[in-house]
Structure formats: C-alpha cells, structure tokens
Symmetry: C2
C-alpha cells in the first residue's frame, strides 16, 4: 500500500463523503498502531488534505493539527504543540487562554466564526479568520485537542463539529497518550 493515497481526496465530493473517507482511513491506519505521535501526525495530514479538496471556505484551511497536555510538571494546566500541517505555531498555550484553552478546560467543542471576536484569542497566524477546536477526552481527562484554522470567516459549521468529534473519539480509543 502506498500510504500517501490515504490522504488523496477526489474533487467533487460532499463534506460528508470526505469526512467518511477520513474516518475510514484513520481507523485502518490506527488498527495496528497505538503510538499517539505517529497517529496524530497522520491524522493531521488526513484532515488537512480532506478540507483542501472541498470548495471554499473549507479549502481555505491554513493550519490543522494538535495540541496535547504538556508533560512538563511545571505546566500542569497547559497545552503543548503536537503534530500539524501548516506554518510554524505557538509552542505552549495555558488552559485559561484562547480558543484552544477554552476547549481544553470546558471539554466542549469551540466553533468560532470570527476569531477576532473571541475574548483572549491567541493569534499564531494573522491570516487565520475562523477556527474550530475539538477536545480529545480520555477517562474524563482532556489529553489533547484538534485545532483547525481557516483563512476565511465562518470556515467551519456543525457538520465539521460532528465529524471532528467522531475523529476525537476514535483518537481517544486508538492511542496511548
């Protein structure tokens, strides 16, 4: 199997079809592999290329990746950058700050149509206009978050939220964090 094909998405598919392919491919990739770094690396690629294959605003995705619980004992309530697709990003984020911190501390998906209107938003990239952040919760603990930015306002909707929450559940079950 040539693995790159897993993240090649045909044009002209609906968002629902593309997310189904993401979830199927992810499930197959994770079947014999529980290493979280490996699985989050491939997952960020799958989701990024899926969104890029769709019409705007989805195709304007400009960052797609993960933050995980910071293992540094000096930062017990902090997130640290994990695998991603896109430009260089902020390395650490306190639970108390921004869209990512809010998703981690409340364990609730944050669907933000306009990041500039979100109190305390952390701008890693001034091109990002909207954002979705989905917590990955395992045994009651938020172990990581899925974070996706879009260069257009209103880049994400309820369909993204539902599909990414399924992905978060799959990652929680499939990885040793």
């Amino acid at each position: 199997m040539v693995h790159a094909e897993a993240s090649t998405f045909a044009n002209g598919q609906t968002k629902a079809q593309v997310y189904e392919q993401v979830l199927e491919q992810a499930e197959a990739l994770f079947e014999d592999q529980r290493n979280w770094v490996c699985n989050l690396s491939n997952a960020s690629s799958l989701i990024y290329h899926a969104l890029k294959s769709l019409p705007p605003p989805s195709s304007s995705v400009n960052w797609c990746g993960f933050y995980v619980l910071d293992p540094d004992p000096k930062k017990p309530s902090g997130l640290i950058l994990g695998p991603f697709q896109g430009h260089v990003a902020c390395q650490t984020i306190p639970f108390a700050r921004g869209v990512c911190g809010t998703a981690a501390s409340t364990q609730k998906t944050q669907l933000v149509l306009d990041v500039d209107a979100f109190p305390g938003h952390i701008a890693c990239d001034s091109n990002s206009k909207s954002e979705i952040v989905v917590p990955i919760v395992k045994d009651g603990v938020c172990v990581a978050i899925i974070d996706i930015d879009c260069a257009e306002l209103g880049g994400f909707d309820g369909e993204d939220a539902v599909a990414l929450e399924r992905m978060a559940g799959l990652l929680a079950r499939s990885c040793n964090f």
Copy 2:
C-alpha cells in the same frame, strides 16, 4: 510574535540564505523549549516552507518530516513516524530497510538522486523521485532522522546535506528525546 511568520520565506533568496533563516528561527524557537514533539513539529514546517520558497527542484518537495526511535520494546531496531508536512506516510520502518533505515543504521546522511535506484527503497508515495535522509545522533545513538522527499529527480545536493546536518546537530542539542 506571530509564529507563522517564522516559516514565511521571501522569494528570490538563495538556498544558503533560506537555510540560514531556518537555522536562526529554529534556534530561537528551541531556546526555551526542549519537548521533542513540539520542536520537530515546528522544524518540519520551517524546512518544508523554506524549500517551497526556492526555485525547482527544491520547490517540488512533497514530504518533509521525521521518524524517531520506536519506543515499542517489541521493535528495538525500528523507526516510527514523527511530525511531518505532506501526505500520509508509512508508520514504521525497520533499521534494516530503505533509505531511512540505512541512514539510521549507518548514522550517515543518505543523498539519493533517484529513489527507484536505491536497493530496498520503501515507497510511501509513488510521486517521490529523490530523497535526503539525515540522522540525528545524540550520545552515539541515532534518536531520529530528518526525511525529505522531492517529486523531481536529483532534488537535493551537498548544500542541502550540510545545512540539514547542522539542523540535525541543533535538534540533538536542543531536544530531550
């Protein structure tokens, strides 16, 4: 500081200038951060966007990332996928196989002008035509490799090898693997 700017490279620079920017930005990013997942994630983005900003063949880079020592005790001589930019990739690679395995086992940079001519080459992506793999060696142990693929033959030269070996040295010094 908007971090995305660290991986924005002006057009019209030489390869030497672009790699200098990569190494300067990497050094600044790693100054207060020794987490290897975080640092390899940002490093893959820096190197990928640097090569994309150059004329062909460098701009035909189609995968840029890392494999690290597999912590699975059942795979004592194996590499596992780390952070990367590009399409979904092979999850595990034995030390004995392919360009990555050769770089890890010999601890020597592998500059491959035509991957199809390399014995035992592992094709994660049939679009990849040439490859460079640079070992990251810490205290005599190969802890990870930098792996970059190009969709053109002869995508890399001695200048890439020298600069990426400096990056490998910086990562070895800057990260707790």
